[in-house]
Symmetry: C3
Subunit: 616 residues, 3 copies
């Protein structure tokens, strides 16, 4: 089920909260929307207190007016369920609707995105309201999609979540024996003999220096999986409520791209289409930002096997929540918006259409500023883009981007490698992932960004940096890829742990060792300012952070360390297997070094794209 976009064109518009200002202004709003070519509005995202000012006392009059006006104006409407921000009365009556934080503290009413996903009181209230919304607006022909909640994320450590976690564990492991084995509890006398002995891992139990520092990685890893699933249960409950009365309208929620706490691969099957909010961290290098956004777009597109997605939010000008909030330079809005479309977006929406009057987003950019002007640089750029989208019509809708190269992303590896004690806390999954992605992006190769469970049979080159955890039949699928002539490229710290985050009782890199034709005997780590020069294809690159000492079996040595006691030993290798090759980069290379490896692998398959040699 894909969102109904009729007439067929790229969706354009954004969050629209007219309940936050006087009705007199609505006319100005629509006049401006016309000028800007805006045809899509997301409504009601934060309207709970408006819609249900007291428990079970519903008041849809304002939203009725908003929806009616939007429909009259020919807008495509995306109604939201407002569960992203609960009303004060709910927190006051049901204190367990508020979360307990990582420090073990129960919160009281405030902010948003803070409902405990295990609170039955919160769930019941959210579902009841979702059902009523669906009943009221579900058959409105202007409604093109449902937007459940908002930016699901974060975590809770309350006793309800503890109970739910224990239930989740029972289901996952069946027995405490199996759980004790998975968590290696004989270490430090942790053998659990009753399910109730299990505590959520936080600052009061297993953690010692923050969320990444845990005494038992297995417990924390499972809590991350559980919490991602538990948040999903909230989404699913609301989706079911909506579906009941609005069976034909597709349902989504706005994801957050490269967002660590939620495993979107576990969510993807439950969305009717993917959508996400594009707020790249500020970065003066527009190339790096552009590459990072491309990765996020591709990750989102890869969630549902290449289907188009929506950019549900982006700011037209500035954010407000950063320490420093620069404005988008002239032309950037247009550039980034078209980049979204080129990567598979069927809609490009703004947060938001009119600027907030007060509170923490009053300086967040909007299509219309506090004065409501349409003679600003910002508004002109918005309107020009609206005009371009109108002119291109449906030409790009539903586009697919066939790719022979793939980049593997795995939330379990992301979590595992960043909470690992040893070898080096300065190794961050996103840093390495984005470095490899950037090399692929600069080579201009059509690329899929897919989970480790993806079918690899259509690819020639598969790149998998920091594939720390190896689950299921992945090693077999990778081996098959190589045997049939493909290239597999992986890096240091891959092949280290099984699905339970326990080390393989075998040579490193575990299930990949024989494919790669080597074993890793030692793993050195150094401070960020220490570089080891690696000679590769006749050039020299800096390696940092992690330096595996490799004992090659039949792998060909392509690059070697130039310093330290392992000078002269392999840093980059390639093993011939069947008709293909398995590449190993035993350290973290600088960008140029990563590019050299990636391009070599691509080149063997003729996959350097057009313009792939243009410098940044």
């Amino acid at each position: 089920m894909t969102p109904r976009i009729v007439p067929a064109r790229i969706g354009y518009g954004g969050d629209y909260n007219p309940e936050q200002w006087p009705r007199e202004v609505w006319d100005d709003d629509y006049a401006a929307f016309k000028l800007a070519g805006i045809d899509t509005v997301t409504v009601g995202v934060f309207a709970w207190a408006h819609l249900e000012p007291a428990e079970h006392a519903y008041d849809f009059s304002t939203l009725d007016a908003i929806v009616a006006r939007a429909a009259d104006e020919g807008m495509r409407i995306v109604p939201a369920t407002p569960s992203g921000a609960m009303p004060p009365w709910l927190a006051r009556k049901y204190p367990d609707a508020c979360r307990v934080d990582f420090e073990g503290r129960r919160h009281v009413y405030g902010q948003r995105h803070n409902a405990c996903p295990s609170s039955s009181d919160f769930r019941r209230a959210a579902v009841a309201l979702a059902k009523r919304l669906a009943l009221r607006y579900g058959d409105n022909p202007s409604v093109v999609a449902w937007h459940i909640g908002n930016e699901f994320g974060g975590a809770c450590w309350c006793s309800n979540c503890a109970d739910a976690f224990r239930g989740w564990l029972r289901e996952r492991y069946g027995s405490l024996d199996r759980l004790n084995d998975a968590w290696n509890t004989t270490f430090w006398s942790h053998t659990f003999t009753e399910w109730t002995q299990i505590e959520p891992p936080n600052a009061l139990s297993e953690h010692w220096r923050g969320p990444d520092h845990t005494a038992f990685q297995g417990i924390t890893l499972d809590y991350k999986r559980f919490m991602s699933d538990q948040l999903l249960q909230g989404f699913l409950a609301e989706k079911a409520a909506v579906r009941e009365h609005s069976p034909d309208v597709p349902v989504t929620t706005n994801m957050m791209g490269l967002y660590q706490p939620v495993d979107y691969h576990r969510w993807a099957p439950h969305l009717d289409f993917a959508s996400w909010d594009n707020y790249p961290p500020e970065d003066r290098s527009s190339t790096r930002t552009a590459a990072r956004m491309a990765l996020a777009h591709r990750l989102m597109r890869g969630l549902r096997d290449g289907e188009p997605f929506w950019v549900m939010e982006q700011t037209p000008s500035v954010t407000a929540s950063r320490d420093v909030n620069p404005v988008k330079r002239p032309g950037v809005l247009r550039l980034w918006s078209w980049q979204s479309v080129a990567n598979g977006a069927d809609a490009v929406l703004y947060f938001q259409l009119r600027q907030s009057r007060g509170a923490c987003e009053k300086y967040h950019g909007a299509v219309l500023d506090h004065a409501g002007r349409t003679d600003t640089r910002l508004f002109r750029e918005v309107a020009e883009l609206g005009d371009e989208f109108a002119r291109i019509g449906d030409a790009l809708l539903g586009g697919r981007t066939p790719a022979r190269a793939a980049l593997l992303v795995d939330w379990d590896s992301w979590w595992a490698v960043e909470m690992s004690d040893g070898p080096n806390r300065n190794v961050r999954y996103l840093d390495v992932l984005t470095a490899y992605h950037r090399a692929l992006w600069q080579a201009n190769v059509p690329l899929d960004v897919v989970p480790v469970t993806a079918d690899l049979s259509g690819y020639d080159v598969v790149v998998a940096p920091l594939l720390h955890m190896v689950k299921g039949d992945l090693a077999d699928r990778v081996t098959a890829l190589v045997e049939r002539g493909g290239a597999f490229v992986t890096t240091a710290l891959s092949g280290r742990v099984d699905e339970d985050d326990n080390a393989f009782p075998a040579d490193v890199p575990g299930p990949f060792a024989s494919l790669l034709g080597l074993r890793v005997e030692e793993t050195d780590a150094q401070q960020p300012d220490v570089a080891n020069p690696v000679t590769l294809f006749g050039a020299e690159y800096d390696a940092r952070h992690v330096f595996e000492v490799v004992v090659p079996d039949d792998a060909e040595v392509l690059g070697a360390y130039g310093a330290d006691f392992y000078a002269g030993t392999p840093a980059v290798t390639r093993a011939a297997r069947g008709r293909g090759h398995a590449w190993y980069v035993a350290t973290l290379l600088d960008d140029a070094g990563v590019a050299a490896v990636v391009r070599a692998a691509l080149a063997e398959h003729g996959l350097i794209g057009p313009l792939g040699d243009v410098p940044d």
Copy 2:
């Protein structure tokens, strides 16, 4: 009512806590005081446990002896109410006398300055003791002033404070409708439908990264106002108790100068005279420190319309609570003390007269060290200054400093601009305020530092950096100033919000836009290492942090940006209005740039002072 200083001379002395050491030492103390020309002692600041060792069991014997001896020795006596540090029995019996901190944690007994201002138990006990003190010492002719509590400050987030906050809000807003409008609660579904739903804003409710990061600026702003008022209630209750039995003795409390948490402008009408503790943050540049102290002195003097004030505390040598505590260099004590007098101080007192034996101030400097020596450099400098004060007699007492220039300080703007999300967290109110003040100070212009409610009719030049919030009739008064020939100088981020911290639904800078003859269309922000060169009066200055893109109406462009997409657009403007000018600096200039603007405005009015061109 001003403090009785008889015989008339600059008060000289300080905190004197002889209950902390054996009586044998008292003779040495007074022998030394004579040598040093000390004539004023503040007594009993931390004596609660001494005076009331158990609830309702009072023991004034030691304080009687201290006061009697001081009177015999001809000292002017400033008795304190000891509410700055509660005794252990009080905290044990009344746990709610201790504060709940920003993290939501109830504290137990310890430290000082930590009583909940909403605890009726604490208030009752403090008032009862204050009353007894007034009864006992109020008619002693040596008593020249009352010193209530000590350095009122900090904040509490307990349930008693929550209740008091709700009461304060009821009084301020009258109705929840008005409150919801003020706080813009439709944003993020915060509409409050019962007063009890309102929680104190802290780490468990609206705050997300510390005290400056709140989801609802309006709530946090009101909590700051409330807490400042609530602390004042504590002061007022004790003052009333004292006044009852000591009707003719003036009452003060020692303030802390440039202290963000308390709005001294709201306190000022309730003091009989102002006094403050001068502990400048360490700074190797003596010019910057001197300028900063001058600002603080002037702020204190400006509290009560130019009346003289007291320096209630300064260290004669070192502080102890800083990470690094350098000694005052030879002559600095004299220099800074005379600076106080030159800025309006009628008394210059030390903390303290004899050094503490143990605990956290045992290394804090004192007139007499642990060995009680009078042959030290420090003591000699103290004594020489005492001699100078004796010789100058009453020549400077009650002095006034007529000024045609004013600097506006506004706690509401201070609070609002520093808790704002966007545009730039690196903009700090004091940094900008001190930069503009330093330019005025270096130009050697007589200057008043006054609140935004001050009568501006006597000024030729009014400088108001970061006047973020515009309240009441301020814009009218400023316009009148300009119309009648004055100069008004303001900066980026001014004129942004109303009294509720909601954006004006108008062009920026709101109520000042037409006076300044421009509108601000965009506000760019950059990291601290990014400078944009601004050409102004033929010279070039660096601008940083915030760069407003200005569309001039009829303002004259004096300076322009030299870089970025807004290169060539106005950075500094001046609009002619009536017989005067309204100046706008649309960015944060470096010190030289600020000086260029300020001096140009002063020069038009002939206000560059003598020696105003001497370099630092």
Copy 3:
């Protein structure tokens, strides 16, 4: 009682936890141990959950098998009591067995080393199990020593600890009057009138910016002393239980060398022999690391008057808990192990013999890696060292190192100087101690590192940096040392406070002033980047952080400051007393300056060792 090491040779082996992997692996383990010359195993350190899976339900079957196999293989066995890591059922049943942290938060089950030392529930369970272990294995002839708990340390702030603290204070002070005097409670109205008013000093009471920042140093100092004693009570209770059934086997626990929270001098009399875990903080300068380890070895040796000790743990390759975990370079393992022996170790053990499968130490190095390989560089180095140890036999066992020079270490001074408010938080006890030790180490003088209570009559040179607190008859013993011809070297910030951390009511440096022939009139402090050049013996050295302004009486001035208002005044002095000299360094000199002073004092006594002039 010293550990039975039969046959006599340097003990070699380490922690062995075969209950953590399948029995099939045990054969491989022992085959490898044979190859490596390993003859000692520590067993059961984390086996509580294994040994007592439910309260009072013991199961020794696995440990029986482990011990039997080890004995059969000829291993020397060191059984541990497993109280370092409690089982989940215990925490669940007895929540008060878990600690309350510095922030006042009760923890729940997790991690290790976290039992409240005042929990009678925990104590009872730990003792009962210790008793059963002793009964079962105490007469096994292969058992050479008992290992109580693991790395005792940390602290608890619960109400049981509060009660125990009050009891400890009653015993120490007898009366509240004496306690109030010791803590100088008249300062800030803290006079305690009931024992129950006393709260453990933490973030909710006396502390304001972390564990080093307290309002009442005396309270915090006593809490540190109490907690060190309270942890010792736990050790003693288990020791007594073990001794009951295993009267002839020596008992130890693994200490942590330069570990601030526990005063090992108070523990030493209760150990049958000392042992410690050697994990030096990573440091690229091997000389600095080597010197630091030497200091720690000597401190451990000095605990029991020069008796040999054991290195109970070291990693053969990498740690895991650091941010960055480099591998030991080739040869380093051998070098550091022999350094241990040279400093008095009779056994050198690893943590651990086989690498953990999962959780936070899965990447911590071990003699056998996850694959169990014996053909690695690491294993080869371990085996070569084992061979060397076997060959040297008993030649070095029980060695003593007579010394005429001593370095004084004092936990009270360490605690006091680092929690002091003023003069400079950048002064860290270990920095200064290691600087003076390094100078001694580089001079290659045989050196004892001893407590301030040590008999000084056998020494010619005694060096005591940062001897902030002077207790008991120390000043007399130091004076006697000097009178009979010895040299005493001390530094800035010495002689400041008495045993209660109250300033001496006398010239600084208190009891040392007349011995040193000077008084300190002022103490300046500066930021770390400010250096004052000190001319000494014709060379110039940088002084930093603290600069005492000295008024010499009859001390000879050896070095003087070159800058600031005290330029030309003494920085280094020497007073002739009797036949000896008392040296004073009134500031913190750079390494070369420290070496100049230390070598001058040593040289006068002919104590520069052989090779004492070899550069690093």
